[in-house]
């Protein structure tokens, strides 16, 4: 396989760095499109069941603590900012800054997961995890319909949480690789792509938060 010597970051299949950068960008955006559609199926289900079971959804959403959800929203938005700063530092070839911002982003992500853990365990304690042990007593609300709210809650926030986790692993690998190659010029493409992914994960949460924590009830 012939590689273009001299420019270590250009893969053998590419003519130049620009072609490579364009390809990676288009590829990443396409990947995010698939992610949108991946979540799209769940959002569709949410819309259908919320329309059908409006009352139950309003009643059930009171079991979620909007303050914790709000805290997580703040944490994720902050992490998006730190991620953006990491990308900027990478473009400017500031190795230490990149590692620092990445570390902060990781910290935020961990904070998000901790809050998530607190929320989930409360649901388990209160028998709000769907299944045979599910219990939801509320006058005028069918417990089966309320369970659908929690079905979707766990499915969607769970899938989102998995994405956060994958993002964290990616950042860790990235940070280690950067540390190992700290003597060299920062390869900003992987950081930029991770950044795009992370903003997407953030964006999904921006939709999930109002859909589950702020269900409009009158």
């Amino acid at each position: 396989m012939s590689t273009h010597e001299g420019d270590m970051y250009v893969g053998h299949q590419f003519e130049d760095a620009e072609q490579q950068l364009d390809s990676y960008s288009i590829g990443m955006w396409l990947f995010l499109v698939t992610e949108v559609l991946f979540f799209g199926g769940l959002f569709l289900a949410y819309i259908i069941y919320r329309t059908r079971y409006t009352q139950a959804f309003v009643a059930a959403h009171h079991e979620l603590d909007w303050r914790l959800g709000g805290l997580n929203t703040v944490i994720l938005i902050t992490s998006s900012l730190t991620m953006a700063l990491a990308v900027r530092a990478a473009v400017l070839n500031r190795m230490k800054a990149v590692l620092g911002w990445l570390g902060l982003t990781l910290l935020c992500a961990s904070g998000f997961m901790v809050v998530k853990y607190v929320e989930y365990s409360a649901k388990f304690e209160h028998h709000l995890f769907p299944g045979p042990k599910f219990e939801f007593q509320h006058a005028g609300v069918d417990s089966g319909q309320a369970q659908m709210f929690f079905n979707l809650y766990f499915a969607m926030t769970g899938l989102h949480g998995a994405h956060v986790l994958i993002g964290m692993i990616t950042m860790m690998v990235l940070a280690i690789r950067l540390w190992l190659m700290r003597k060299q010029r920062v390869d900003f493409i992987p950081i930029e792509l991770t950044g795009l992914y992370w903003h997407f994960v953030d964006l999904v949460w921006i939709f999930l938060f109002p859909l589950f924590y702020l269900v409009g009830g009158n």
Partner: protein, 559 residues
């Protein structure tokens, strides 16, 4: 001719096959050509598995009574046949084998944009296939390839989760391939290779890739939900859990109908190459054919509801889906006419790939027109879930996709392996497949209108004759496939050495050696002409008589 044609033939040169033959170098290869070969091996094995189930099904249906196997076994047989053939053979067949091998060469690139992702795609696919086979070894799944809820999520006693995971995992392979192709086509074209100079195979792959990228994630999440509903009882489909089983059908067909086009569009792309090459003429209405691929890709996402005319969905919704389904037939009809008319004033050479191509025109025309019955709401109420549907989609998927795959495989075989397949045997196989196929599936149209439901282990006595005909045809069809496998394998060792351009075809893949060097070209091609720019050769009283070549003579008969 272009500068690329100056590339000289290098019979003893290093090529992608002989560059490094250790197992490790194959398993870690990032060469799109080798990955194509790896895919070919995997899907051939899956085709064999799916084919064995097909034969067992036809054997059971030889008699009206359910006497060969138990009904549970039968249910597992048709499920595994469907799952394997669709998810592990048809969907990757042309894109991941022929597309992988040819597409970068056809646009003058050294490789796809993301070679490692390409290799990952094969590994992910193989992992999915292994999961599928695991489900089989654990006793097989009995839900039908459609995995309808609530049967799949709450009632079946078979390893549904494993099978569904296999499909889920293989879906990512499909996404990787699609993503890779889109970026490759956008960014990796050689200088001068404008969009309207792209071979139509590339256009078809582009349209296919769009469907792969946009559709697959939806079926992935849907199947994931089925697995979760089954495993954790967190469900959104099972009515016992407050869910709606028909929602599953909407989500499933939102992918699985476009998936039909994932199977057939690449076949149409192959067709354009074969018809142009063996008519020695530019495809009639190149732009119509190119854009109709995109039209099909877009429309394919708007017709899923035609699988649900009897499911209880709103009558008006059904009518919308019905009229859109009628529309999606038009671009396909356009292609059929364009291919046919391409032969007008051409020099038609009936090599095996062309025989397969002509077979495709016949079978796909029938397959497409019988789709008209099923898109017509009232007729579909009667035909839905009968053998008419089975016959229709086999005409499209076997008569269309597999016949095109075989045609393409013969066509590019010299390029891929550096060997010629034996031409007379190739012609015989095309004939056997065509006859066997029609005998197998034509009677099923009649059975369908008579009312024989699909997925039936036993059936009323009066339908035996037609079923016997079908089973007999299946035997012939299977012989055809076996024949192909035998002589292609034989040719790997004993076939004549292939020249760089055995068909005198245009297209960049014929301007490099057979098999191509690891980086496809010794120097970067620059494109200065349209696709299929065959010289206009007149035969009777035309002036440029001296340019006449003897295409008709079996010049490249290397068998």
């Amino acid at each position: 001719m272009s500068a690329a044609s100056t590339v000289v033939k290098q019979p003893e040169a290093v090529n992608y096959l002989n560059v490094d033959n250790r197992i490790k170098s194959w398993l870690l290869t990032e060469d799109h050509k080798r990955i194509g070969i790896l895919y070919l091996i995997t899907i051939s094995l899956m085709f064999l598995a799916g084919g064995i189930f097909a034969m067992l099904i036809r054997l059971e249906l030889l008699t009206p009574a359910g006497d060969l196997v138990m009904s549970d076994t039968y249910n597992k047989m048709f499920t595994m046949h469907g799952v394997i053939m669709i998810f592990f053979f048809l969907i990757p067949s042309i894109p991941a084998v022929l597309g992988n091998f040819c597409l970068p060469i056809m646009i003058g690139a050294r490789d796809v944009a993301f070679p490692r992702l390409n290799l990952a795609s094969w590994y992910v696919f193989t992992a999915g296939a292994i999961l599928g086979i695991t489900a089989l070894v654990l006793g097989g799944v009995d839900t039908g390839w459609t995995f309808y809820t609530p049967y799949s999520s709450s009632f079946s006693h078979t390893p549904v989760i494993i099978a569904v995971s296999g499909v889920f995992v293989a879906g990512f392979a499909s996404i990787f391939t699609g993503l890779n192709f889109i970026v490759t086509i956008h960014k990796m074209r050689a200088p001068g290779m404008t969009w309207l100079r792209l071979p139509l195979f590339v256009w078809a792959q582009y349209a296919t890739s769009l469907i792969m990228v946009l559709g697959t994630p939806v079926v992935a999440i849907t199947l994931l939900l089925v697995a979760v509903e089954r495993g954790l009882r967190i469900g959104i489909f099972d009515p016992a859990l407050g869910g709606d089983p028909v929602l599953f059908q909407h989500l499933f067909w939102f992918y699985s109908h476009p998936a039909v086009y994932i199977m057939i569009l690449p076949g149409m792309g192959v067709m354009s190459e074969l018809i142009a090459t063996f008519s020695r003429k530019r495809i009639f209405g190149y732009e119509f054919v190119a854009y109709s691929s995109l039209a099909i890709a877009v429309l394919s996402f708007l017709v899923w509801g035609h699988h649900m005319f009897v499911s209880g969905q709103s009558m008006y919704l059904s009518m919308v889906f019905s009229v859109l389904s009628t529309l999606v037939a038009i671009p396909s009809a356009v292609k059929i006419f364009n291919w046919t008319v391409t032969m007008h004033k051409g020099h038609v050479a009936l090599y095996s790939p062309m025989l397969y191509a002509l077979g495709f025109i016949g079978l796909f025309t029938i397959g497409g027109l019988t789709g008209l019955f099923l898109s017509a709401t009232a007729v579909d109420i009667h035909l839905h879930d009968t053998y008419f549907v089975v016959a229709h989609f086999h005409y499209v998927m076997v008569g269309g996709a597999i016949v095109a795959f075989l045609g393409g495989l013969h066509y590019w075989w010299p390029k891929m392996t550096g060997r010629m397949y034996p031409e007379p045997w190739g012609k015989l196989s095309a004939l056997v497949v065509f006859i066997g196929f029609n005998l197998t599936f034509f009677p099923q149209f009649i059975l369908g209108y008579l009312g024989m439901p699909r997925r039936y282990h036993s059936y009323p006595d009066e339908w035996q004759t037609l079923n016997v005909l079908s089973s007999a045809g299946a035997t012939i069809l299977a012989s055809g496939f076996i024949l192909v496998a035998v002589y292609l394998l034989w040719s790997l060792r004993y076939g004549a050495k292939a020249p760089a351009n055995p068909w005198d075809a245009t297209g960049l893949e014929w301007k490099t050696s057979s098999p191509p060097p690891p980086t496809n070209f010794t120097q970067r091609p620059i494109i200065t002409e349209e696709a299929y720019n065959y010289p206009i050769v007149l035969s009777n009283n035309g002036e440029p008589e001296e340019a006449m070549k003897q295409e008709g003579a079996e010049k490249h008969e290397h068998a």
